[in-house]
Symmetry: C2
DNA sequence: CAGATAAGTTGACGCTTCGTCACGTTCCTT
DNA sequence: AAGGAACGTGACGAAGCGTCAACTTATCTG
């Protein structure tokens, strides 16, 4: 009864939850643990431990810690993409296209407590690996919408690739700053970003005192 | 002579290189291996193996894979910061401030083969953890320069925090796209970014055909 | 409804990677 | 030349990973 007992698996598999419930259980535990320990410091076992499941079960749902994280990101992409697309589809001017895009993004980011608390915990998470198929599809959609708007004469004929890059860069960076301020003012952020794209720096709203974080 | 021989360390420490040389040896090996295997897939031992050093020696120089990576980033920050600061210091108009910032950044990124080949290999690396003290200091410096320019009346009184976020976001995103194009045209990227900040979308250079990647 | 098959769960195991540290070598000082 | 500081070395213990044989529950089939 020392080391070599080799009592081998004599498991006792209950089936008290559906597949979808287990998946959600893992995702939720991951959010919690990422928020507590930080992405880098959490192990797959940490996530499993925050769950009534066994170690091996995790791998029926995800292949790695990274994949759970990507699933969290995909959830976000899946929720925000339709809203963004809809907003842009009904735009009848550049300004509507731009402000609609930023407003939708900022409002989503500020509202999704469950996902973004885990993210605020790690300064860098918004920047880590935004390259799941879902997210790339979201970027592609922005690109397509942009090209369509150009074709319709809404925009002048410009470098859609760079414009998209600029929009994405501004959206993510400002979102990050916004979340770190005392109260996330999505309207303020939207005004700023929209003004920048509409008229450049000289069109930006001026302020009196420094209300920055 | 089976397992328990416990021949224990009877090392043979040569000292054929200086401390600084060893550090550079490791950094260079890291660049190579990151470029070959990708950041996520390389182990510390992979880096060591690309080096004439022993496993333990690595830890005399860095504490982890991440720290090597951050050192690579710090090298970049250290090289580019003086140039950026100088460029901004001699700006006498908003346009010079903005175009100088973007041009310097894009030109550096396009020129630093050694570091950026490793980076191009991983789509996401530009986005990973930009939070070493060096890099944060660089951001802080941009922020200070910006506030000073505002105080001097170069800029209107605006939200320096958001403006900085916008500059950083546009710089990194466009740099990434630029590097992926057939030939990295830093002047084109600079023109685009500057025009955006100076006059918004309607000031952007128009193009005839789609010369995008 | 018995028997067969599929689907899902379990935890111990083997393996990889990590960071350390006792020991050996080289450099530097006096 | 003596001795201490600095540095290099590789084997070791610990930690985490992903797998898989054994087992349980669900579904299907006639």
């Amino acid at each position: 009864m020392d080391l070599n007992t080799t009592t081998r698996a004599r498991a006792a598999g209950k089936r008290e939850r559906t597949k979808q419930q287990n998946r959600q259980l893992i995702l939720q535990a991951a959010r919690q643990v990422f928020a507590d320990l930080g992405y880098g410091a959490t192990t797959v076992r940490d996530i499993v431990r925050a769950t009534p499941l066994a170690a091996g079960t995790f791998y029926n749902y995800f292949n790695s810690k990274e994949e759970v994280f990507q699933a969290m990101q995909d959830e976000i992409a899946l929720r925000i993409r339709p809203r963004l697309h809809e907003e842009r589809a009904k735009a009848t001017s550049i300004e509507e296209f731009i402000s609609g895009t930023f407003r939708t993004f900022f409002e989503y980011v500020a509202s999704d407590e469950a996902n973004f608390h885990a993210i605020r915990r790690n300064t860098d998470t918004l920047r880590v690996r935004m390259d799941t198929p879902e997210i790339l599809a979201g970027f592609q959609e922005l690109r397509t919408d942009l090209e369509e708007a150009i074709a319709n004469g809404l925009f002048p004929s410009l470098d859609a690739d760079y414009l998209m890059a600029a929009i994405v860069g501004v959206a993510f960076e400002i979102a990050e700053r916004m979340l770190r301020r005392a109260r996330a003012d999505t309207e303020d952020a939207t005004r700023f970003a929209t003004a920048l794209f509409m008229g450049g720096i000289k069109a930006l709203p001026t302020i009196s005192s420094g209300d920055v974080a």
